[in-house]
């Protein structure tokens, strides 16, 4: 045992009685959440952004039996920052295809909304990323969630010091919130997928940039508290056509993965996405916490539809701090 392991073991031993006492009090209101007995996650192959992605998305939606007719759909891509040489954001071709797919499936309205984590300059981000062209061509409304009107909501979980959170008014006007993250590793959280993507709904005007109050309160707990506070139905479409490995979410390397994931249980989608990255979801702290009450983390509780994990699995590198995530259980 080296010095670091010894210190970790000593700390764990001394904290164990206190932690077990804490565990007796659940950190969420038991009557507010019902974890599904089983969850479905669709894994579909998509080689590149030039292929007709609308058909793939429509198939994913249909495989998950998502009801879209007459719904006001809010697409929440990841548009945290822009680097002309990087693969930071959800690809605009995929967002465009999602707009098309939801409209084709009878959605009453499709809105694109994001509260970028780093930049305050929407015009730049939208133009540089190519999303502005999509918005213009499809006459879709874009809402800057960082500067939207806000409404206070009381949390029913307590993984941070927050007891209430201000949420954008636009969220309350939607029937379905679609999280569209990029398949990426993350230097603070391990991975960033459909749950972590919800950082972007938190208004920067209230909580600062780079969503600083959330990092200050603890990134893992914040991810869980934000997701537990969103009470509208959700769906995930994960952009893994080209993902990011290494020092994500901004400065990692592109990883061609050729995959899209879909599902209504965001915990199940993210744990499946982690498995596709050869990352152990039970070792991702926030996934483990969310798996206690928000959705299914265990492989045995998830029905995989479409492709198999084995066929499309890729080995995503992580930074040294998260080396433990690569030890699959």
């Amino acid at each position: 045992m080296n010095r670091r392991d010894f210190l970790k073991a000593s700390a764990a031993a001394s904290l164990a009685p206190w932690l077990s006492a804490c565990e007796q009090t659940p950190r969420w209101q038991r009557d507010a959440y019902t974890r599904p007995k089983r969850s479905q996650v669709a894994i579909l192959a998509a080689e590149n952004y030039r292929q007709p992605l609308r058909d793939v998305i429509q198939r994913g939606i249909e495989l998950c039996r998502l009801e879209t007719r007459g719904k006001r759909v809010l697409l929440k891509p990841n548009l945290v920052e822009f680097d002309p040489n990087g693969v930071i954001n959800t690809h605009p071709a995929l967002i465009e295809a999602a707009v098309d797919a939801f409209k084709s499936l009878g959605a009453r309205e499709v809105v694109i909304a994001e509260g970028p984590g780093h930049r305050r300059d929407n015009e730049y981000l939208l133009t540089a990323s190519g999303l502005y062209d999509v918005i213009k061509e499809h006459r879709v409304r874009y809402v800057d969630l960082n500067n939207d009107d806000v409404r206070l909501t009381t949390l029913k979980s307590g993984f941070t010091h927050f007891r209430q959170l201000y949420l954008p008014e636009t969220l309350y006007q939607a029937d379905l919130l679609v999280s569209m993250p990029k398949l990426k590793t993350h230097h603070w959280a391990g991975v960033t997928l459909s749950l972590k993507n919800m950082f972007g709904v938190i208004p920067g005007s209230v909580y600062g940039w780079p969503k600083n109050a959330l990092h200050w309160a603890g990134i893992d707990g914040s991810i869980v508290d934000i997701n537990s506070s969103l009470r509208l139905p959700r769906f995930a479409i994960v952009d893994g056509i080209v993902g990011m490995e290494g020092n994500g979410p901004l400065q990692g390397q592109a990883k061609n993965s050729g995959v899209l994931l879909f599902g209504t249980d965001l915990v199940a989608v993210d744990s499946t996405a982690a498995r596709l990255m050869k990352i152990e979801p039970r070792k991702v702290k926030y996934l483990e916490m969310a798996g206690e009450f928000l959705g299914n983390l265990a492989y045995e509780r998830i029905d995989q539809i479409g492709e198999t994990i084995d066929r499309l699995q890729q080995d995503f590198r992580v930074i040294d701090t998260f080396a433990d995530l690569k030890k699959l259980v």
């Binding site: 300059d121 806000v150 940039w209």
Partner: protein, 298 residues
Amino acid sequence: MQEQALSLLLSNQNGDGGWGAVGGKHSNTEVTALGALALRSAGADTAAIDKAQSWLSQRQQADGSWPLNDSAKGASWATALALIALSEVPAQSERALKAGNWLLQQAGGKPGLLANLILFVTRQKRAVRLNQDLIGWPWTAGNFSWVEPTSYCMIALKKLKQKLPAEPFQERIGQAELMIYDRMCVGGGWNYGNSEVYDEKLWPYPDTTALALIATQDWPQRNENQISLRTLHDLALKTDSGLAIAWASICFDLYGQDNTAFKDALAQRFAKSQFLGENKALALALLALGNGARYFRV
């Protein structure tokens, strides 16, 4: 373009006198402060200006701070902008001074002892390259100091320099300037306030670069200012954004440099996008095209 931008900004003014992020959104302090200044610089109808100033003055809280808007009522970072707006109105000088004294009391936080202890014990490498002992101003109370809120506060306080108690002013501004220079990106310019993560360099943004330069305009000859001015010049003219170009234009005006290219670029950008109808960009463009840089002179 000025007329069109002014007309759009006026048509987006809410009945209560303020502005939200775009037309139809509730008024907030940040945009209303900039909107009030923009109307003044554009020589707009005094009734519209009075309504905007009145929105601001009615919302100052007892401690001198301003809330973000009528929904989020706690003290906010936007106080510095309200101060800048009202410091231009002689009848509101008491309000501005009260806000200045409130700002002097606010400070960014530091990572706790426990976080540092864990780093030390586990011999983990620091992920970011910055001096966490240098304190500026945070976005939200007690959080870390970042470039944009620190810059706003520096500009606001420097405008009130003669009226504020000398010792805390010197102490806070001196440290904030060190913080700003510490956070500069390699090669010049600033992003939100982190120049490096895990040995990878992060890149500067035009808007925050302009703001940091405006906040340190009284040090024009410093090497950091000089190289960052060059960075800003190259960056802003390549950026498709009214917000970025407007801040850059204001900055070069304050540094006594030719900003004609930025004014031309602003007009071109407005013709293409109307700045997405964002009231903040419209207000900043009017400030840049008119004589609005003077409101940010310290």
